[in-house]
Symmetry: C2
Subunit: 286 residues, 2 copies
């Protein structure tokens, strides 16, 4: 990294990546891998690095948004309720120009969506060239709640893992850089966050009695996530498990993951496709 | 207004509104109607009032986003090139939760769009209940460049004014509050801003030789805007002309216009649709 003032001690990507032999159960949701700082420094670093993210995003947009094909970034966010997906969207992605961001929140599928293959509603929301797309929940719901709640049979779930990997490989081949993030909180942390929603009338709307039912299935969900990592964390589209009991860390970490792919794309300001001196003269005369 | 610390001396809405007898030619793009402050205080006020905008937006979203029908806000932005639409999106709307915002940028119509009525591509982008929608350019292009460049004949342009008013009346009846803003800059200010794009390689991508051609038609565009105000500034969906040579003022003013409609909607935190005490117990036991 080029910013000597941040409290990152190392690039967290390799530490967070769900690679060969990764075990979700071994990740401490309280931990802050690669970061030697606290909430206060974390907020400062988030803001400081936002400027860099912003610059890279603007270059990406400038260089590619008018192209028929070209690089894009897709951030996939998955998590148990209250883990902080919304905060990532707001505080990390929210720091860049909204014109260059395509946000897709996938809710419970509609009847029409259910009548199609599970990727049918996903495909049209893949970000175009030059854009940063964010999936707030995603096609992974179909192998998470889909598996835990047995919304599809085992053979169909198996088929979906493969379909997902094929789909993502296709996107990657088309230039979409995929960053898949599971925000990992502990059941106790979730309990506190849900309790807060029940304590504050301005938070009631965020609470759903179904949240407790999902919560009771925590171990099943963790198994389903482990299967997702085992089956779909590929070289081309890796999963990252981000400890998220400390919201400030999760935001910093996702910001770093985005910075990494953007730096790797290394988008450049496009050259003028006009004669600058001629245009200066035309403008002066106008 | 309830914020005694801002430098607004009066609600600018009546001053900016294109009502009966409004003449665009009488608006000074350098002026700051209703605001007694400078760039520095403007930035401070923008930030301070962002908190209020944010609170109102969250209430609107909380109260209505799950409904089949209900209030929404639609901000329509029109302007000559470089007037600062992007800055409004970023610095005014960008202060609220991206989850509650639907941004639609309307570019030159595609072949498919041209094969349909001009409102065909607009309808699907109208914000749903609880949302704030922003149109970066809009159906008004079809009576602005459409008129100036004679992309349609006079009878069709006439038809469109009526179609627009009918369309907007329909949206208003469905609960969409429409705030139509023209950002008004002077030709000299535009010249400076275009010149800056030609002076900085990181700005070349924002420059298009066609911008100078449009610029040469400035008086025609002002006539077309005047016709738009005369024909489509209705009680239900008024136009506001915001002086925009001072970017900080334009942002403050649009923020105020949004605050006005949101306050008028006066969205309330929804009551719990569950028994809070029962849920506290269920959660504690989980």
């Amino acid at each position: 990294m080029s910013e000597p003032t941040s409290n990152w001690t190392t690039d967290p990507a390799p530490l967070l990546r769900a690679g060969e032999g990764f075990r979700l159960g071994e990740v401490d949701p309280e931990s802050t891998p690669g970061y030697d700082g606290d909430k206060k420094s974390g907020k400062k670093d988030l803001e400081a690095l936002s400027a860099e993210l912003n610059d890279l995003q603007e270059r990406l947009f400038a260089a590619h948004h008018d192209e028929d094909s070209g690089p894009a970034v897709l951030l996939v966010l998955q998590a148990m309720d209250t883990a902080g997906k919304g905060g990532i969207v707001r505080h990390v992605v929210g720091a860049v120009d909204p014109q260059g961001v395509e946000l897709a929140a996938f809710k419970k599928p509609t009847e029409e969506e259910l009548a199609h293959d599970f990727l049918w509603r996903i495909r049209p929301r893949v970000p175009g060239p030059g854009m940063i797309g964010v999936f707030d929940r995603s096609h992974y719901e179909d192998v998470l709640i889909g598996r835990v709640r047995k919304l599809a049979d085992g053979a169909e779930i198996e088929r979906r893992y493969t379909a997902i990997s094929d789909f993502e490989a296709e996107l990657v081949a088309a230039g979409v850089r995929i960053v898949k993030v599971m925000l990992h909180i502990s059941p106790d942390e979730q309990k506190e966050r849900l309790a807060e929603r029940l304590d504050r009338p301005d938070k009631y709307w965020k609470y759903n009695p179904g949240d407790v039912e999902e919560r009771l299935l925590w171990p099943d969900y963790m198994d389903a996530y482990q299967a997702v990592f085992d089956r779909t964390s590929t070289e081309a589209a890796p999963w990252f498990v981000v400890p998220a009991n400390r919201k400030w860390y999760a935001r910093l970490a996702v910001q770093r993951l985005l910075l990494d792919v953007l730096k790797d794309i290394d988008p450049q300001w496009p050259a003028a496709d006009f004669d600058v001196e001629v245009e200066k003269k035309r403008l002066a005369d106008s």
